[in-house]
Amino acid sequence: MHKASGAVHNRIALFRTERGLTRKALAELVDVNPQTIGFLERGDYSPSVELALTFARVFGVSVDALFSLDPFPSLADQLGAASPIDSEQS
């Protein structure tokens, strides 16, 4: 049996900020208490499949893009990997 460890990583804060949404506004869109958004963003709570799918629908992305069992790479790492200057130097 998979033991619930609460280690589901997410990018909710990133997508929310990018869309210019407050926690309260996002909470209304996904139909949860605004406090729950804070718990999710801090990684203190792992959502159900239904709630994860609702977030994905609201942001218009796949569930994979929002949630992962492994930590997401930082934005700096991703930009560094994709930067053509870095590739030329190396």
């Binding site: 309260k24 909470a27 139909d31 949860v32 605004p34 959502p47 609702t54």
Partner: protein
């Protein structure tokens, strides 16, 4: 996921600190009443009155406690709180059940121990059961308030 609905009347949005203080007054007051009544069985009139007042304070504090939004979250049907709140409520009730089972076990032990400890009279056991019953009503609300980390409702 379940639909989220804000608490309706008569529930009042009391602060976490207020609800914590009310829970200490009500649950702590009841246990203090029981212990003082047990330890001072033949107290004089004034002391008896003070001990009685403790129970009154506990009862009065329980009213706003049970009308707070924490009480709403502790007693709301699944459809009116979200899935995280359902999880927290279930945890609070699980710990309340453990508290109640421990208390009932203590009461049984007290009933059996009456043969050897005359101070454990039937009224004492009856008071213990009363305290257990009343505190178990308020305990889920108190646990929710004490476990709340004070996350603001918006930004």
């Amino acid at each position: 996921m379940t639909p989220f609905a804000p608490p309706r009347k008569p529930y009042r949005p009391l602060t976490r600190t207020t609800v914590r203080a009310l829970s200490v007054l009500s649950i702590g007051g009841l246990w203090s009443w029981f212990l003082l009544k047990f330890l001072l069985p033949s107290a004089s009139g004034v002391v008896e009155l003070m001990v009685g007042l403790l129970a009154l304070v506990a009862a009065v504090a329980a009213i706003p406690l049970m009308l707070s939004t924490y009480a709403f979250r502790a007693n709301a049907p699944d459809g009116q709180i979200d899935e995280r709140e359902v999880l927290e409520r279930n945890r609070a009730y699980h710990h309340t059940l453990l508290y109640l089972l421990t208390g009932v076990l203590l009461a049984y032990i007290a009933i059996e121990a009456r043969r050897f400890v005359p101070a454990l009279s039937l009224p004492v056991v009856s008071n213990l059961l009363q305290v257990l019953f009343l505190t178990s009503i308020a305990l889920p609300t108190a646990l929710l308030a004490w476990r709340d980390r004070g996350e603001p409702d918006g930004e």
